[in-house]
């Protein structure tokens, strides 16, 4: 971190800044020029808040040089993290293909879809039991009953389960029953929830918040990791922009940016990002080509009757075609599913 001092500051003012920096565990390297005075902060600056430094009247500007995350930082962990979910791997060339219905609706539905997506090559079953809905009057998911149905589908197919946790209340159940705990976009900065899943050992799929910068997203991963759980999978699912042709704007650039900054695996959810089923195939191919570690795709046996988000769901037949098409893109990236 670099602090640019205002011209004419006093020694007393400088001392106050130095004291503040040292009280947060870093050291000050005073670097004096003829016309400019700059302080370079040395050591661990993670505990220093640039905004706090700006409260000092003698401080002109503050420039972050190091990233504020540590455990998520590639600098201190250059090799890509490979997350092992009961034998199925994600990261470092292993793609995770998570497919399934937006909402779990019945045993018949979820088992049928699970079998279909497995046959097409998916290696995870995703399905919503607890659903975050904008309206309190919309269908909120089958909740615990949905979780039971997912377990049946897992028994039938062997596919590990990915499903969203919305409340600490059910964390124990999730740890017991679920293979990957999904934290949804709306809860990306529900810090309490992040800390609690951080205390478990269950892999966490952390969706990017709709208006979250990549840095904030990695800081949310850091919340989980700093509690001890380093099994974090990032999932880009579109950010909110002014464009209305798609539900959100899928930020595929996030994949190479994350690759540069972090060792954590990152997957892409083209279904939620666009809200349009015809866009899933082209964006799935692009996601693999850009280097993503996997995909999350909504698949439904009868989109016209899905209880939620049917507009973005594809049928098992379409999913099968997509899987065939992405096969060669996967090979080109030197990856395997």
């Amino acid at each position: 971190m670099i602090i640019v001092m205002k011209p004419g500051f006093t020694q007393e003012e400088l001392n106050e800044v130095v004291k503040a920096v040292e009280s947060r565990g870093a050291e000050v390297d005073k670097i004096e020029g003829v016309a400019t005075s700059v302080l370079g902060l040395v050591g661990d600056t993670a505990y220093i808040d640039p905004d706090e430094l700006l409260t000092f009247k003698c401080v002109e500007k503050v420039l972050k040089v190091q990233e504020p995350y540590k455990k998520a930082n590639k600098l201190f962990h250059p090799e890509p993290t490979i997350i092992d979910v009961n034998g199925t791997k994600i990261g470092g060339g292993h793609l995770g293909i998570m497919a399934g219905p937006c909402s779990v609706e019945s045993e018949e539905q979820v088992v049928l879809i699970a079998k279909a997506v497995k046959a097409s090559g998916a290696n995870f079953l995703r399905g919503g039991a607890f659903k975050p809905r904008t309206s309190p009057y919309s269908f909120q998911g089958l909740e615990l009953e949905g979780l039971e149905l997912l377990k049946i589908a897992k028994q039938e197919t062997g596919l590990p389960i990915v499903t969203e946790l919305m409340s600490v209340e059910y964390l124990d159940r999730f740890v017991e029953d679920v293979d990957v705990i999904q934290i949804g976009a709306r809860n990306m900065q529900n810090f309490n929830l992040l800390k609690e899943v951080g205390k478990t050992k269950t892999p966490v799929l952390l969706k990017r918040g709709m208006s979250s910068t990549i840095e904030e997203w990695l800081m949310s991963a850091e919340y989980i990791m700093s509690e001890g759980n380093e099994n974090v999978i990032l999932c880009e699912r579109g950010i909110r922009t002014f464009e209305t042709a798609t539900r959100n704007t899928l930020d595929l650039s996030a994949v190479p940016v994350i690759r540069e900054k972090s060792h954590l695996p990152i997957i892409i959810d083209p279904s939620h990002a666009t809200g349009k089923r015809d866009l899933v195939e082209p964006l799935a191919k692009a996601a693999i080509a850009v280097g993503a570690d996997g995909l999350m795709i909504e698949v439904h046996n009868n989109p016209a009757k899905a209880l939620c988000d049917g507009k973005q769901s594809i049928t098992p037949e379409t999913f099968d075609e997509i899987m065939k098409k992405i096969e060669v893109y996967t090979e080109l990236e030197g990856a395997t599913i």
Copy 2:
């Protein structure tokens, strides 16, 4: 709600749509033209999800005519809601001025500030005990100890307390000790937390999410209200845009828009919106002039040493000047503090 049908749909397809609509409690008014077929939905359409209707192949477009919220809707409650917090009112001409430190740091600090802001005319004490921070390494607030200090400041001044709840875990304590429970921007769509505060009778200050539309914000209010707690105060605190000169972009238009759509009171937080202490005064005046029901302002006795967000804090002296200046704006709006 209006459904525009695609040309050439079959009777069978139409029946499916009608069935779906009726299963959600509304009725279909088929309105046939020479070249266009349109379905008008009659009755309560709150349970109908436009996205679901778009999954039907015969449906071209869906247009919402009514707003999706009911209890927050001005249509069914034309008079402004006045929320009575143990005798202090907000709404319908009563302004709530909530002032205090970003973080509660010590008894001395919070009592001193509470007395100062009361003397200047504030009628609520705001102060953070639990702090949502982007980084897990930043100061997270004094937590329960902070709550105790707020209670002391309340005893000393009589000012009702507004403070943020981040986890259901502490809800009972908040119901007991706190006068207004604040739900922060990052938790605006933490639906679980919304439902739980909705089951209490304590007034709720609901901050707008950084990337939330006004409609989504009112739907989050609806989550609280639909559980039985109709004491919701909205708080605009800036939305996320591309502009970097201010931390967020304060959306003052939200005040007259909310006025048109809802009966709930709405206040403005210029401190968090801009992140700059020099912008607080002009935006506080503008907020009153645009018709807001109150303000939330960060006040600190020594901004340079504040443990968080000092850059946006003003001193008690500056707060006093602002209060003097907004007095006449308050009168112009026919309001009282």
Copy 3:
């Protein structure tokens, strides 16, 4: 400007950076610390492009300390600029109230509205002769005929004319006939047009681009000013965000931000910003309260028949009420119309 060097750079690399800086007219103040090496740039850094410096492999980060604009910068011109438009002043406590129809439609229309808005206290007539429209099939304005009608209205009322120039082709006509040349939001970075109006002496109203930062906006003003024309009035008219309840999001914070950075006057256009006539009054009051130097308001004698943008137009009667209401706000700011 501050350059943070990467650890381990060579003397040769440093020399290249120094050479690049000096070739742009600035000097390098090398400020060496124990662990960090920083270059402070001294002198006029306006010709140095931070992005160019980042191309050097030895450069880690670049931090701008000074603003990149010079003539628009308050630092070098602390007193507010007062622009005198044939006797009518804007800036430094003089408010410019620009009212009139979105499109000039007929002599009768524009004269009638001009007389009405003058009677209510407006001191400028605004009206579109050339209209920027998203669709080539929409009405594009009466063009030169519209300009003639504006001149008639000016003769009848004495109000100076503000109207939009979209093409260099008509610049001479505008210089001759128009009192303030408006550059629309879509042309804010039409640098060719900016340079050409910069070569005239006619005051320029520069609208903020829909996705322009305040810094880019001031740089566009700088384009005009650097050619010799320092009579620039800024006009905030809403920025593009995800919110759809209003057409754009009016950024009233821009007023105090501009006040801090520049000496140029800034006015507010609540009509275009919101696209809703009911929001004009509250936002007009807020604009004066936040310290704006004036307003631009669409007024139409029959909104229901306006050829464009009727939805946001108010009637002369409503305009008269607004003018009465903002009178006291104007006084409170110590300003005069």
Copy 4:
């Protein structure tokens, strides 16, 4: 277009709406239900402005059913447009790879790069002679001299030239010397410039504005096409969002969205979108995989000395590697360069 009427409208009010619609060349299909009255507009609705209809007090809502563009609309031109630039084709399976320096700096530079990119497989030379720069103090390009240098490079390599036109003043020179006229993002709604290039026969590369919706972009293409020039190539180059890790957010979803709505070819510019040279390769691959009709890539022989935008430029060697890598992606899409 569908008009939803407010309950209780009078016959007289209805007549006024019908008259307005008919005066714009469309017809009204009145579709009456029991509880809702809706007007369906039949015929060519391109001349009808939804905002105008909303000015009528009896109109509740207006819903566009057809897209507002005609010549750019796939509905009326289902086959993909293939643009033939003196024998080099773009669209319908033919990829256009446009490579070259951001700014033309010298004959040596541009000829060297042109030869290199041709050898690697590029089929167009792009290079800036006139440069749009945020600051009037930044290098603005060699202008007409740069154009001459591009012509020399064309003679030496046979590559057709793509370069940006910023002012109508030079249109004749561009028509004579240039193969594809680029309209930059900042001029996407410079309607005057669009109309003028629309009167030529030279192919136009139309970059998307930084805050333009896909619909607005296609309407700008329509401006060019409605004047007679149907040779429009669209170019996505990133949109402005809150994210700061990349300069803009590349919207790759725009490719399949455009494919669905229009017959015009669309290419991707990963260099400007991200502003980071390391992101060019992964996004170039993703662009081909998502179905784009080509790429625009900045290539410079010495990025560290480029006069502008060097940070995003890659060397000819890196460009060669990228071209080798995208070869197989091109084949997978059934396309040829």
